[in-house]
């Protein structure tokens, strides 16, 4: 009964509201709303673009100032390179983020290898420097952190690591010697984005692994594999730096054989 009464009610109301000008008014209202909203959105969008451009230009200018003060003595005032330092045209923001973000740049002294050391700049300063260098010529960008989130194929990462990276960085990722005083650093404890940037940019004597050689997903798999290695406990106990047979052999020759010699001397010594 109640249902019936409401339906009749509604019908009555609908019929009562209908007016000859209703559809015209509706169309007008629709047009005004759409037009107004469009105008509103476009104006904010342009304002935002203009705003980001200004912010970006400020960042680049700030980066230029930092660059002139800290980097230009070796890399030149337009990052064109000098006898002391390479040209930075085209190295991209990723190279700056890696080199400065790991403390390798600015170098303490010219030498065969720029070492990792305490970072000299704040994150904002590094971002500004990266923006300035990226503004000179197109180059690889700082990877998006979302690349390292979610499921990764550890088996694929492991295989690619062993084929492409392990010969220099050691199968356990603990680094190794190169020629004439250079070395491949340990990859343990290195930030995911820095590992990625190193593959993309080929810092110092490391070769470049571009996206056609190792796709961004492949690189993320390699990073995930390294993080897995870093976090998984060593089943065998103390890893002794995972440097391989040389360090392990040295340990057992000194301490193992040392203990054997000591015990032998004690057994053969006469009791007093």
């Amino acid at each position: 009964m109640g249902i019936d009464s409401t339906t009749t009610d509604r019908r009555g109301k609908r019929a009562g509201r209908r007016h000859p000008l209703a559809s015209v008014a509706l169309i007008l209202a629709g047009l005004v709303t759409t037009g107004g909203a469009y105008a509103l959105f476009t104006s904010t969008a342009t304002a935002e673009t203009a705003n980001t451009a200004i912010v970006h230009q400020q960042l680049v200018d700030e980066g230029k100032a930092l660059f002139d003060a800290n980097c230009a003595s070796c890399h030149g005032f337009n990052a064109e390179g000098t006898a002391e330092g390479v040209s930075l045209h085209g190295v991209g923001a990723a190279a700056v983020d890696f080199q400065v973000g790991t403390g390798r740049m600015p170098m303490a002294a010219q030498g065969p290898q720029a070492e990792k050391k305490p970072v000299q700049f704040s994150d904002e300063q590094i971002e500004a420097l990266a923006a300035y260098v990226a503004s000179l010529a197109p180059g690889p960008e700082v990877p998006d952190e979302s690349l390292f989130e979610g499921e990764a194929d550890l088996a694929n990462g492991g295989e690619l690591f062993r084929i492409n990276c392990a010969m220099c960085h050691n199968v356990a990722g603990s680094g190794g010697a190169l020629t004439e005083g250079k070395w491949a650093p340990s990859l343990m404890g290195v930030e995911a984005k820095h590992i990625y940037e190193a593959m993309v940019t080929g810092p110092q004597n490391m070769p470049v692994f571009n996206d056609l050689n190792l796709s961004p997903e492949d690189k993320a798999d390699i990073v995930a594999y390294l993080k897995f290695m870093e976090e998984s406990p060593s089943v065998g106990g103390i890893g002794l730096g995972n440097l391989g047979p040389v360090s392990e052999g040295l340990f057992i020759w000194i301490f193992g054989l040392g203990a054997v010699v000591g015990v032998t001397v004690w057994i053969a010594a006469r009791a007093h």
């Binding site: 190169l178 020629t179 571009n210 056609l212 406990p233 009791a271 007093h272």
Partner: protein, 357 residues
């Protein structure tokens, strides 16, 4: 006449022997030097503190007892540890803890046992030095005669020397028995001539260079300056023995600034716009050479530190390798993919006996 000659010569020889004999003592006798060491004998016996002081003796015996009790504790600890730290399937850390504590327990059980035994022997057991002479190894005449009798009796009863057919066929059977093994050993050598296999690889005219491990072909434009690609021949997975083929055909592909390459006139056509391909197998003992430095253009072999200069046709600049790495001549096909112009022009990897140079 002959007899006379003989007689004369023998007489001469006899006199020479006589002369020689008269000169010195027989050459078979060792020279006895007058200043030889005399056997100093045993040093004088010195009593230990445990022999002289009963208090110290009691302390030493307590020490040994404590070490043995420690060993008991270690054994019990090992059992407890094995139960307290079980191996949980899938949890690698549990393996480590289980092994660590079980090992510590067993160490604690065995080391004090050994130390206690040695301490006991050194400090409490008799310390008097004495000499034990070796006894003769030769048996008595009776034992020897008895052994000989057993052999004779055995021969009589079995008829080993009498029944010639049995003896000879037994010797024959034992002699023939190892022959199947010798025939099988022959087949341990490669069935095919290995020299021919050493001299050629899977690379051939038009074989595309593919990425290891995916096997995707590589375009020349993919290889940017400073890049290094680990390369296998396309179709490697379909080969009869992919790993054998890979061991010979593995290649390292690098792109240098073309101005950095110093190419010989006869090899100018082997590279493509600064892209060069070299065998990854070291010419020293065959390790994979892949430690590439993009600015110095050095390739380092991790096994014995041989260094190759990629800018100069991979000539050896350091280390034990004697020959440069063989270069794979490459070109680009109609679709832009990198292909081999031919196989390597020389055998890859370390030297072998039949290698001409």
């Amino acid at each position: 006449m002959a007899k006379q000659d003989n007689g004369e010569s023998s007489a001469a020889a006899g006199s020479a022997v006589e002369n020689h004999g008269a000169v010195s003592v027989s050459s078979g006798t060792a020279v006895v030097a007058s200043d030889a060491f005399t056997n100093p004998g045993l040093p004088p016996h010195e009593p230990r503190v445990t022999d002289l002081d009963p208090a110290k003796e009691r302390r030493a015996s307590r020490t040994v007892g404590m070490l043995f009790i420690l060993s008991i504790i270690g054994s019990i600890f090992a059992i407890v540890a094995y139960i307290v730290f079980p191996i949980v399937p899938g949890d690698m850390l549990s393996v480590r803890l289980n092994t660590l504590f079980l090992g510590l327990g067993i160490t604690l059980a065995l080391i004090p046992l050994g130390i206690g035994a040695i301490y006991w022997a050194k400090n409490l057991m008799s310390s008097h030095e004495h000499v034990e002479m070796r006894h003769a190894t030769r048996g008595t005449e009776e034992t020897r005669a008895a052994a000989a009798r057993i052999f004779t009796l055995g021969n009589e009863e079995s008829g080993f020397t009498r029944r010639k057919l049995i003896r000879n066929s037994l010797i024959g059977a034992l002699a023939v028995f190892p022959l199947p093994a010798i025939v099988m050993f022959r087949d341990l050598a490669p069935a095919k001539d290995p020299v021919a296999l050493f001299k050629q690889t899977m690379w051939d005219k038009g074989t595309r260079l593919a990425l290891d491990p995916s096997g995707a072909p590589i375009k020349a434009s993919d290889v940017t300056i400073g890049s290094v690609f680990h390369v296998i021949p396309e179709g490697l997975e379909e080969a009869d023995h992919p790993l054998d083929e890979k061991a010979k055909a593995a290649v390292l592909l690098m792109r240098l600034d073309p101005s950095a390459l110093n190419e010989a006139d006869d090899r100018k056509g082997w590279s493509y716009d600064g892209i060069v391909a070299y065998s990854k197998i070291c010419t020293h003992v065959g390790c994979p050479v892949a430690l590439y430095e993009q600015h110095t253009h050095h390739l380092l072999c991790p096994c014995h530190q041989s260094e190759f200069d990629v800018a100069n046709h991979c000539e050896v600049i350091f280390g034990p390798a004697k020959r440069p790495l063989p270069q794979l001549p490459i070109a680009v096909d109609a679709e832009g993919y990198l292909v081999a112009q031919s196989d390597f022009h020389e055998p890859v990897g370390p030297s072998f006996w039949e290698r001409s140079a």
